[in-house]
């Protein structure tokens, strides 16, 4: 039997609008789930029970007087790198334990304005770096919860929240979402304001949404998108439109062989099976290869990321060096020594590579590939960035959609990459794909 925590956000909204579900009852069910699971899973930094209950009561009144916003009554977990007015934002860094400038990030303010409830802050790796967080994987407690948006993905997968916001600087929305068997969505770079996000790399940082359906991730991704004068990367861009209805037009996709070849046999096999199924359902699938070496994407990413991260953290490093996690500190130290000419060259090459890929995606709806090159590995790592980083380098929109369980009973994700600023079509594709693949069961570890 499906309990209230199993509802997707869209299902919960439908019930609230039909007056068969109270926002207070829904919140209480999620809080009970958190009480039950958190001692084992450790997905949350802080749960704002009082603030959430106040908001749920307001939501109940809003439904009663017909002033409810489009996300009214839906509790959301927010990655602890994103500012929230009522709660500190530490970014996994002890010296920031009580840091709170007292205002919401733009994305959080937009969720509140639409009626969503900020349930609390979920775990992140330190400053979105590569050192694993304390969060456990609900599919297998001995496997990584990934990162950097570990708490976001786990809270959604383990039915503690229907939606969470994450951030991606390499693969930190798509990879953890894939490992947890949920849906992750990163809109095009520039769609979602980063104002109020503790930065790691201004060239790459993106905010995305995680949920247990394409409709949920799309709904919340759209809610946080749109221009914001406090993030100039968004200045010329409007919000994207959600599809008007269900798309029955099968997509035309390029299956990128490079990523099948670097994936484990298990992942490559599951993804190939899923793509075959899509083809049998009418999708136009053609095989293709990247026009530039994958290694070049990874090198560009490293050259830009570690320099920007070192510059961003320079003042903190001078004051609090002993508090940095070892993997992040190594990157920051080396990033501070990279010649400026290498950084600028990487930025120039990045734009050139983007032009090559733009030519490749013309004439199709998108790319399809594994979301991650293997299922969740052990807890010493957050997992490799190979399948996600190219799209972060380009700043293109991506979905991961669950594609079943692999041999070890761990989720495998199918990644869909869309044309830049064509989120509407990408959402249609992801929805079409989701409806042709099997639904993902709930995790059961611990």
């Amino acid at each position: 039997m499906t309990g209230l925590p199993d509802l997707t956000a869209t299902e919960a909204l439908d019930r609230m609008r039909s007056d068969v579900l109270s926002p207070v009852d829904y919140l209480d069910a999620l809080l009970a789930r958190i009480d039950d699971r958190e001692p084992t899973i450790r997905a949350w930094v802080r749960v704002d029970k009082d603030g959430a209950r106040d908001a749920a009561r307001s939501a109940e009144r809003a439904y009663a007087d017909e002033s409810a916003g489009p996300l009214c009554g839906i509790p959301v977990g927010v990655k602890d790198l994103i500012l929230t007015e009522r709660l500190p934002t530490a970014g996994g860094f002890a010296p920031l334990r009580t840091f709170n400038p007292g205002h919401d990030a733009t994305c959080v303010a937009r969720l509140r304005a639409a009626g969503a409830i900020i349930l609390g802050k979920v775990e992140t790796t330190q400053f979105a770096g590569r050192d694993p967080s304390r969060t456990h994987n609900p599919w297998n407690l001995e496997r990584t919860a990934s990162g950097s948006s570990s708490g976001s993905a786990v809270a959604v997968a383990d039915r503690m929240a229907p939606i969470a916001l994450g951030t991606q600087t390499g693969g930190s929305v798509i990879r953890p979402a894939a490992y947890m068997g949920i849906v992750g969505f990163t809109p095009t770079f520039g769609r979602v304001s980063r104002h109020g996000l503790l930065p790691r790399s201004h060239s790459f940082d993106m905010i995305g949404a995680m949920g247990r359906s394409v409709a949920d991730a799309a709904l919340f991704g759209a809610a946080v998108s749109g221009p914001d004068p406090r993030d100039r990367a968004t200045a010329s861009l409007g919000a994207f439109e959600l599809p008007a209805g269900t798309a029955d037009h099968p997509p035309r996709l390029l299956l990128l062989e490079d990523f099948l070849e670097i994936s484990s046999r298990d992942v490559a096999s599951r993804v190939s099976d899923a793509v075959d199924r899509l083809a049998r359902a009418g999708a136009g699938i053609r095989r293709a290869r990247l026009p530039v070496p994958l290694e070049l994407f990874l090198s560009l990413h490293t050259a830009i990321l570690i320099v920007e991260a070192a510059a961003t953290q320079a003042d903190n490093m001078a004051r609090h060096r002993a508090h940095y996690a070892p993997g992040l500190l190594a990157q920051l130290d080396i990033g501070s020594a990279v010649p400026a000419t290498a950084y600028v060259r990487a930025q120039r090459l990045r734009r050139r590579v983007r032009h090559r890929l733009e030519a490749m995606i013309e004439g199709v709806d998108g790319f399809v590939l594994p979301s991650a090159s293997e299922v969740a590995p052990d807890r010493s790592t957050i997992g490799p960035r190979l399948c996600q980083t190219p799209w972060t380098v380009l700043g293109w929109p991506c979905f991961t959609v669950p594609a079943g369980l692999g041999d070890e009973g761990l989720p495998v994700g199918l990644q869909l990459v869309g044309r830049p600023f064509d989120e509407t079509r990408l959402i249609e594709i992801a929805d079409w794909v989701e409806r042709r693949l099997d639904p993902m069961p709930a995790p059961a570890a611990g």
């Binding site: 095009t188 060239s203 070049l296 090198s299 080396i334």
Partner: protein, 62 residues
């Protein structure tokens, strides 16, 4: 520049600020980063291939 040249340059820059012990700790990470930087530095970008807004977001927008 070869990866070895880049690694040597990184070590020189790091020695001044962090000392020999830390540079020794970072040895394998320096080498891995140097491989990637050498790839970036070895990829030609002609002046007529330049995009004046190479640091901005993707080109299209509303």
């Amino acid at each position: 520049m070869s990866p070895e040249d880049v690694a040597a340059e990184l070590r020189r820059a790091l020695l001044a600020g962090l000392g020999e012990e830390r540079v020794a700790e970072l040895a394998s990470e320096i080498d891995a980063t140097a491989e990637q930087l050498a790839m970036v530095l070895g990829e030609p970008v002609a002046l007529d291939d330049e995009d004046p807004d190479f640091m901005g977001p993707p080109a299209r927008g509303a």
